[in-house]
């Protein structure tokens, strides 16, 4: 990488770009890069456009109507392996860590609360496990009523997090298969797709009894008084990777310098968001509250963006890392993050057959582009916008194995098949949804 190259000499293939996003607080790096002029500093003239839902967003990136977009980490991976849609989509920039939560309706919470142990201060002891939800689900099933939950997309972080939480509490979320694209085969609870901004309204209408979604839609439920967030994804998997910035492989190949310039601007935006111990978050909240971006009330967005999270109304707790945009090398596209998502796709049947460990590594390599990221980082250091220590220069793309999960199961990105074996509920080895269906329901809590 040439260290003498500066912003002015990046020979941009195109400079008028349009990026899509979904109205969620984790689109913040895009809004910040636009409003603070980081895109323009790179000579980029970017238009940001909210999209109706994740499917529309991905389709418009694939057809070229959008140059790139704020995506669910699972979207580029699923598109590339041909689940749901088939297109080679890549990412060189991971947008954030954490930032989601699971909310249940007031009625379900009242029923659940009896099974939640209280802490020394009388408040519910956190993290709240799905074990407390299990009796409620059983009661619904005994009464012959379906227990419906909402998540935002079949390959969304939220789907996998909700499934992880449920399965860790012995509730089976159901398998996907060639004949069941809704993922409800053998399910104790029925998961279905609802676009994030509509979650509160759908919960209020009683169509679903709970949901897994990003902010501000959990805090919105608290403030509207229609539901109670029970657990954040930070508590399910500490510092889990969340959204990514995705472009098609063809776009990345045709516009290498533009891609670098975009990643540079986004890294600067992420740095600003986390700078000086979140000192800029108030300003970020004001930005995001504008109708053109997230558009929810500043008070709702501020609840989670400023290091706190409100569970039951009045039960506001400090979660300093609820939204991480830059620390912990949050923006570096780790292969191991990609592989975790692939393991979950396999676990729940979206990948129908067993794949060797090498397949996981190769797929991650074809979608995640840490080289592009580091090249952009190198340019930022040369420009004086970042410090040498801000980036994991020597990483081989795998985070160290971690057991920072709700249930303490260790994840090592180099051994995906072994990881699948260690999870009680879920496909492993040569399983297919058909072979395990009869034994799957109601696995024991771990």
């Amino acid at each position: 990488v040439a260290t003498t190259v500066s912003a002015q000499t990046l020979d941009l293939e195109r400079d008028e770009l349009k990026f899509g996003f979904i109205k969620l607080t984790d689109m913040a790096p895009l809004a910040v890069a636009y409003e603070l002029g980081y895109f323009e500093d790179e000579g980029l003239y970017v238009t940001l456009e909210p999209q109706a839902n994740w499917k529309v967003l991905l389709d418009r990136v694939i057809t070229g109507e959008l140059d790139g977009a704020h995506m669910l980490a699972g979207q580029p991976l699923a598109a590339t392996i041909g689940f749901g849609t088939n297109a080679h989509v890549v990412t060189a920039f991971s947008m954030d860590l954490n930032g989601n939560a699971i909310t249940v309706s007031n009625d379900v919470w009242r029923a659940m609360k009896a099974h939640v142990p209280a802490g020394a201060d009388g408040r519910p002891l956190h993290p709240i496990k799905a074990d407390a939800l299990k009796p409620v689900v059983d009661a619904y099933r005994a009464a012959g009523k379906p227990f419906n939950l909402g998540m935002v997309f079949p390959v969304s972080t939220h789907n996998y997090e909700l499934r992880y939480w449920l399965a860790a509490g012995g509730i089976h979320p159901g398998y996907y298969s060639a004949t069941d694209t809704s993922g409800q085969t053998g399910a104790d609870v029925l998961l279905s797709v609802t676009p994030p901004p509509q979650m509160p309204a759908t919960l209020e209408a009683g169509t679903i009894l709970g949901y897994s979604v990003g902010e501000p839609w959990n805090q919105q439920a608290v403030i509207k008084g229609i539901g109670v967030p029970v657990i954040t994804d930070y508590e399910i998997w500490k510092n889990n990777p969340e959204k990514v910035f995705g472009v098609t492989a063809a776009w990345a190949e045709a516009n290498p310098n533009t891609h670098l310039a975009v990643v540079k601007a986004l890294i600067r935006a992420a740095m600003w968001l986390d700078a000086d111990d979140n000192a800029n978050r108030r300003e970020a909240v004001e930005l995001l509250a504008r109708p053109a971006y997230v558009g929810a009330d500043a008070a709702v967005i501020g609840n989670s963006m400023t290091g706190t999270f409100e569970y039951e109304r009045g039960d506001k707790r400090a979660v300093p890392d609820f939204n991480v945009f830059f620390r912990h090398f949050a923006t570096y596209p780790y292969y191991s993050d990609a592989i975790w998502y692939l393991t979950q796709m396999r676990r729940w049947g979206q990948i129908a057959e067993q794949k060797p460990d090498e397949w996981y590594a190769a797929t991650a390599k074809s979608v995640y582009l840490p080289d592009v990221y580091l090249e952009a980082a190198r340019l930022l250091v040369a420009d004086g916008h970042a410090k040498e220590g801000d980036f994991p220069w020597t990483s081989d793309g795998y985070r160290a194995p971690t057991a920072d999960f709700l249930d303490g199961v260790e994840y090592d990105g180099r051994r995906p098949n072994a990881y699948l074996e260690s999870l009680a509920i879920g496909l492993k080895g040569r399983d297919t949804p058909a072979t395990v269906r009869t034994t799957a329901t109601g696995g024991a809590p771990r």
Binding site: E40, T47, A52, V56, E65, P195, G225, A289, G295, D297
Partner: protein, 340 residues
């Protein structure tokens, strides 16, 4: 004077200002008591009705508690309308700053390297409410014009030939009641497949919305044209035949002028349907017009969202009304000249 007033009367009524007539009559010396009664009916009653509506709305809205706060009353909606105008002003300032920054950057590039290729890029900020209204109008007229270009020739053929009419009638009857929401996914996929260009002149969302408008709005024009043409006085057609006019001359000199009143009725209905359909199409196709404004505000779910959506509701209504009046005026003008 009174003859003049009588002549302009229908035009004033058409423009929705029929209440000017009694005032004009009074000014020209007509009996004030009769004219005052007329004025009360033309202006007073509607005003009272509107006032009652606003009062009822304000009273009921305050009691309906949604999860986004109470349903906004007239005052909150008016405040949001003012807000949208103010936002338009702010956004225009931001646009000016954007161009100033760009100019400075271009000048700098030229100073560094006189041969540098500089150009001015379009503003990247969000469209304002007025931009969105304009986009919607542009889209609906594109769709409407496309529809007319198809519907009128087809209608003329169907009106002239019983065979053609029999051939297209079942199709028309089946297509006519289809909702835009059903067409949209198909139109989207077809546009994506066929409209491939690296530097497209129009956005796909624009084309998708316009074509959906076309598909839903061409039927009234088609049917009315066919009926209008079929019901032309047979004597007129026979005169054409006696004079041995060519087919095209006959169509343009006899058929179209005679069928114009009904064609225009069809056009007016079509534009009305098109405008109604457009909002739904824009919501789904994400065409940056009023439909997308409503959708985005619904998604925002802020405490102002409902009031902003109501501003859009009234805007859509008022524009729909104006479009209808314009078509009515055109129809009156054309019918008049046709019967002369």
């Amino acid at each position: 004077m009174s003859v003049l007033i009588a002549r302009v009367n229908p035009y004033l009524a058409m423009l929705g200002v029929g209440w000017l007539v009694p005032i004009l009559r009074m000014a020209s010396g007509d009996s004030p008591s009769v004219q005052l009664k007329e004025l009360w009916r033309e202006l007073g009653v509607p005003m009272v009705a509107i006032a009652l509506f606003l009062a009822a709305w304000g009273g009921v809205a305050a009691r309906i508690e949604t999860s986004l706060g109470a349903l906004p009353g007239p005052k909150a909606v008016w405040a949001e309308a003012e807000n949208l105008v103010a936002e338009h002003g702010t956004e225009r300032e931001r646009r000016a700053e954007f161009y100033a920054r760009q100019e400075a950057r271009n000048a700098e590039a030229l100073a560094e390297n006189p041969g540098a290729e500089v150009r001015v890029r379009r503003y990247t900020g969000k469209p304002t409410y007025f931009d969105q209204i304009f986009t919607s109008l542009k889209t609906v007229f594109t769709g409407f014009v496309l529809g007319v270009l198809v519907a009128v020739p087809l209608g003329v053929l169907a009106g002239l030939s019983k065979t053609v009419n029999a051939a297209i009638n079942p199709l028309v009857q089946i297509m006519k009641p289809v909702s835009p929401l059903a067409w949209l996914p198909i139109v989207t996929m077809v546009v994506s497949a066929l409209y491939v260009s690296s530097d497209p002149l129009f956005q796909k969302s624009f084309i998708t919305s316009a074509i959906t408008v076309t598909l839903c709005s061409l039927w009234p024009t088609l049917i009315n044209t066919a009926v209008g043409v079929a019901s032309i006085d047979k004597d007129l057609m026979n005169v054409g035949r006696v004079l041995q006019l060519g087919w095209f001359t006959q169509v343009f000199r006899i058929v179209l002028p005679s069928a114009l009143p009904l064609i225009f009725t069809g056009l007016r209905l079509s534009l009305g349907v098109g405008w109604m359909v457009l909002i739904a199409a824009e919501m789904l196709a994400q065409n940056p017009g009023l439909g997308k404004f409503v959708w985005d505000e619904f998604q925002n779910g802020s405490s102002e969202s409902l009031a902003r959506i109501l501003v859009a509701v009234f805007t859509i209504g008022i524009i729909g009304f104006l479009l209808d009046r314009i078509m009515l005026a055109l129809q009156a003008a054309v019918t008049h000249s046709a019967t002369r």
